[in-house]
């Protein structure tokens, strides 16, 4: 009896679950009894009444069905009042379908079921992106429902070459995923690899994005984000046309994009919504901010503790004045303030919004000002840490921002023990690590490290759209030309 499609067995299996409905339905007067199997709360009630119950009760042709087989055939051949109707013979698939919100009619004698896809559960409507909002551009963002998200992508790319492949992961959660790519542009090896990775995920549940991310990334020890995520369908579509692959996971309101390279994480949708010069300036400022946030605290420690001759005269005098009565070393000041900064951020995130704002004011302004007045820290250090802190939040990708914040600490520590020597050692290790990272066959620092420079046109500076002729060299499989070479008239 086990693992067979049978109402008695299923009823017993879910006997303790009050939300599971398994109830008999008598079809006309033919003594045919089939069983309804559904999850209360996951189905569309109106559609259920209309497409399933009403159909079974008033359709006159059903009276002519003498056997379960005849009844099934009739329903599957157009008798059912619903377009998404299918026969299910596999027990596991049936359980999964019903638990995901479908309705099944169980035919005990046939040991089969007819499944109606009339899912309806509470879901968030499409709203403005919270993290990647733009002034000029689309206001759509992904939601937690996979099918809504794939529909949003499909609306952007109305091509028959867009493939939306369904996958499942999670032994208990059976989380649905969609692998989205454009045939003939995306590399099939990468598609196969991602498919294989997902099929090998041996985990009960995927409650948070990190669970899936950790399986997808190739260099698990690296702190740098190797999977890009976005809330914006337009961003996914543009990456798909570049030859990248998107992974839509049910329950996660953003979409993963693979393979991911560092320059992608520095791009913001705003860059493309503005004039190319404005976009380039914004992009350049972002790269400058990356350098400032990474190196400024370490540079300050090195310059004020070891190589003070590096500073211009007036600056060294100003720093000297500011530090006169402070009892701590520069390294202690900077590291202490960096830690305080992180504590403030964490506290601000955990607290309710209204309290969080008050907390920021109290922590940032009152405590900071008091600490300076009490000569516990010098004003220069406050400026340095504030600049580095704000610079870190300019990164469009929060994962990159977090990585940079941690590396900033390591570099500051190295500068504290070795001055510029330590800082340079840190820089060499960092660059070596970044150069060694590869992501599904592409270099993480691509196109900075590429031999061909034609894809460099969308990195530190955003060139006019007419120059985006080629797809990324090492990402696109074939059909590498993205647009015709537009000539100036």
């Amino acid at each position: 009896m086990e693992n067979r499609i049978n109402s008695t067995y299923i009823k017993e299996l879910f006997s303790k679950s009050s939300d599971i409905v398994v109830r008999p339905i008598k079809i006309n007067q033919n003594n045919l009894i089939i069983h309804l199997f559904a999850v209360d709360g996951l189905i569309n009630d109106d559609l259920f009444d209309q497409a399933v119950l009403q159909n079974l009760k008033i359709d006159p042709y059903l009276a002519e069905c003498k056997t379960e087989r005849q009844l099934m055939d009739y329903l599957l051949m157009g008798g059912a009042y619903h377009v998404f109707t299918s026969e299910e013979t596999d027990y596991n698939k049936l359980i999964k379908s019903v638990l995901s919100g479908m309705v099944a009619l169980i035919f005990d004698l046939e040991e089969k079921a007819v499944v109606y896809d009339i899912r309806k559960f509470e879901k968030r409507s499409i709203q403005e992106p919270t993290e990647e909002n733009v002034i000029k551009g689309s206001k759509e963002s992904f939601v937690e429902t996979m099918r809504v998200n794939t529909a949003l992508i499909r609306r952007k790319i109305r091509s028959e070459k867009l493939v939306v492949e369904k996958l499942t992961a999670g032994k208990l959660s059976k989380t649905d995923m969609s692998l989205v790519y454009i045939k003939d542009i995306a590399n099939p090896d990468t598609v196969n690899k991602i498919r294989e990775i997902i099929s090998k995920i041996d985990i009960d549940n995927i409650p948070t994005p990190a669970f899936i991310e950790e399986y997808l990334i190739e260099n698990k020890a690296s702190i740098f984000p190797q999977v890009m995520y976005t809330q914006r369908p337009d961003r996914v579509s543009s990456n798909l046309t570049d030859g990248r692959i998107a992974l839509v996971v049910d329950g996660i309101p953003f979409v993963y994009i693979l393979p991911c390279q560092l320059p992608m994480l520095m791009q913001s949708p705003d860059d493309y919504a503005n004039h190319f010069l404005i976009g380039s300036a914004l992009r350049f400022i972002r790269y400058m901010a990356l350098i400032i946030t990474l190196f400024l605290p370490a540079f300050y420690i090195a310059a004020t503790t070891y190589q003070s001759q590096m500073l211009p005269v007036q600056l060294s005098l100003s720093i000297q004045e500011a530090k006169q009565n402070v009892p701590f070393s520069s390294a202690t000041e900077v590291l202490g303030l960096l830690i305080s900064f992180e504590i403030l951020i964490e506290a601000g995130l955990r607290l309710p919004q209204a309290v969080g704002t008050a907390m920021s004011i109290l922590g940032g302004l009152v405590v900071g000002q008091s600490a300076v007045e009490a000569n516990l820290i010098s004003p220069a250090v406050v400026v340095i840490v504030a600049l580095a802190g704000i610079g870190g939040f300019i990164m469009p990708n929060q994962d990159l921002s977090s990585a940079v914040r941690l590396i900033r600490f390591i570099l500051a520590l190295l500068a504290a023990v070795g001055g510029f020597f330590g800082l340079v050692i840190g820089l060499i290790i960092l660059l070596t690590h970044l150069c060694s990272l590869s992501n599904y066959g592409t270099a993480y620092l691509s196109p900075f490290v590429d031999v061909e420079e034609r894809n460099i046109k969308d990195t530190i500076f955003r060139f006019p759209v007419k120059y985006f002729i080629n797809r990324p060299e090492d990402v696109a499989y074939k059909n590498k030309i993205k647009q015709g070479d537009i000539k100036d008239e």
Partner: protein, 367 residues
Amino acid sequence: MNRVRVLILFIFLCLLTGCSNDMNRKEIDEINFIHVMGIDYMSDEYILTAVYNTGQGADAESTDTGKEEIGQGRGATPFEAFQNLRLKNKKTVSIANTGYFLIGDRAAKKGIDYCIDFLSRDETVKMESLIFVTKGVQAEDFIRESLDNKQVIHEDLEAIEQKQGELVKRNDNTLVNILNELENNMTCVLIPYLISENNSFLLQGYAVFDKTTLVDYLDMDTSSGVNFIKNIIKAFPIYLDNNVGLSITYSKCNLKSACEGKVIKIKIDLDFETAVKEVNTDKNIFTREELNRLTGMQNEYIIEILKKAVNYSVKNKRDILQISRIIQNRHSKNWKEFEEKWNDTLPEIQYYYEVNSKITKSFILSN
């Protein structure tokens, strides 16, 4: 494998912490940065007078950079005097941020090479720091007088540097430049000299060094002539006797040389442009004839200035115009003949002048 890497990194970091003592770890507030250093020679010993900020007296809200103090070190050599200065000071002293070195009159006469040798061997010194000579006085007296007059000496010297920048295209009195100049024995090293007047410093002209010792001070016009010939003039005022003032906005000087037998001929080819800055006459000067006349006058004015520099060189047998370098580079075969008796050759050089100019702007809208 990863554990081994982490372990190696950890050991490396631990080892690095031990380096901090050997890497001159010193908090910035534990250092006295010398902004200005005076180098003097008196009674067979060198005296270094260092001006630095103590930081005391500056509060968080003021933009004041604190109180200037003087430290002094004495020794048989400048380096010994510097060590003496270090020993006497409460904090570590550093010349890493010293922007100006003032060489006293006597120290300059003793020899500039003695004064700056120890600087050139310090790895922290700024090679673009400027060197000045204090005319007729000790650098120490110069510094003390300015402090007594409540002057902020490094700010006044900064102002001098800015003024220099407005008049000439480059400062040739940087430490690195003077070290280079000293390597050439044939030419005279020229270092600007300062005088103190009415609570401020004035830059008047060049101190002339024969090989390494101070021998003379050039007046302002002769120094300007040198600047013209060195092609470093950026702006220069011209005062004509009919109450017309002009300012040079562009100048280019080219020295053309020829060796004819034992005769060296140098043609000073100067092109410059001026703008009218002042017209205190009722006469309309903006006519073609009048402008031509003014052009001629300004040419003569500049030729006179050029001649002063040339005459000084000829009369005193000092190569302040760096002619030897031109002959060395352009006429290397002939140079061997002149090399040994170069100073005697200097008066024999024949100079020719070709000065062309034009008045380009009046800055009067109606004209």
